[in-house]
Symmetry: C2
Subunit: 215 residues, 2 copies
């Protein structure tokens, strides 16, 4: 950190990867660009960092302005600073990833121009995204996969009350592999407690509802 009297012509952006799971698929919130460059393409929701806000506050603002969501899980992902990432000017992008269950997202009243897109499809190249955002999403997707096993992020994708089969599907989608029911339950049971409610109405045995246990 040197004294920087000469003036930097470098912009700082904060972009957010807002993930959710819907229809058994990992999806991400993208916005359609209304301006050049990449007009009409999908891009990550992002903001220019203001002098009066921290990085995390900027990320929260980005989420709030596009989706109305507040108080959701938000962690810094990585900072991207390649030279040609933004054709307009040299821009460093500090990225955050946010997680939510689709219920909250539906209820929050998102803007028009906000879409939920399958991450798998994006990584296959369809649709094409603005800037280097596909690469950023790929990086974030990998981080998610790694974090499932040694953190509690999976709980962020389900409502407060959830069934164990629901939670297991979250793990399976994030890990990209199927898990054995009995083993999953043994692994997860110290972290959850029954609410006493049941989820009924299915054409099979009802499942117990659980909540996350405070540890």
């Amino acid at each position: 950190m040197k004294n920087n009297s000469s003036h930097q012509k470098i912009s700082v952006a904060v972009d957010v990867l807002l993930f959710t799971i819907e229809d058994d698929k990992l999806k991400i919130v993208l916005v359609k660009r209304k301006e050049k460059p990449f007009k009409g393409s999908f891009a990550l929701p992002g903001v220019a960092l203001r002098e009066s806000e921290t990085l995390k506050e900027a990320a929260e603002r980005s989420v709030r302005e596009r989706t109305g969501l507040k108080n959701i899980f938000l962690e810094q992902l990585y900072t991207f600073g390649e030279l040609e990432r933004d054709p307009r000017s040299r821009t460093v992008s500090v990225t955050y990833y946010a997680l939510t269950d689709p219920g909250k997202l539906d209820a929050s009243g998102a803007d028009d121009g906000v879409s939920l897109i399958s991450v798998d499809e994006i990584l296959k190249g369809d649709p094409e995204l603005a800037f280097d955002h596909r690469g950023i999403i790929e990086y974030g997707r990998n981080r998610l996969g790694g974090k499932v096993n040694y953190s509690d992020i999976a709980f962020e994708f389900v409502p407060e009350e959830f069934t164990l089969p629901q939670l297991q599907r979250v793990y399976e989608i994030l890990l990209g592999e199927n898990l054995y029911k009995a083993n999953f339950r043994k692994m997860i049971s110290p972290l959850v407690e029954e609410t006493g409610n049941m989820l009924t109405g299915m054409a099979h045995r009802p499942s117990k509802l659980y909540r996350r246990k405070e540890v």
Copy 2:
């Protein structure tokens, strides 16, 4: 990432945590500040990001300018953006951590004003550091501890040829706990191969020298 025609008065710095292990202690390279603020205090070596360089290139430059080292292990750590971190101006600091064995560091001819300080001492509060650099080092130290177990970073702290007891000490220092010799060897043996050389001159049985095996 919004069109940012209005001008940001935000500086981007790149600071580096250059760790090494010397005298059985984890140490970090610090520089003594010659200017206000925090004149005379130790600080992380850092540079102001230039328009023409990537973040990683800036980190490499920071290491090279202070220590002469090139081609060492370097990974992004975190980006710090609290409002009052730098009293001069709003500064976002993208941090990297670098690892090296002390032999390379000695041989590289570091500047005056460059010191190797014990990380444990710093975390205890002595010496006090400039800016929020103590907190940054604490964050980096924790990351190192976590990474030891699922990556190969320990090898970065030893020379190309090393003994298993040396490598075990690296693990122990990074983990902060002692390991069982036999178990450590079983864990590490798939990753190393004998060079055929021995380290002699000790008042006990000589130890075999190993190199990292390409996997």
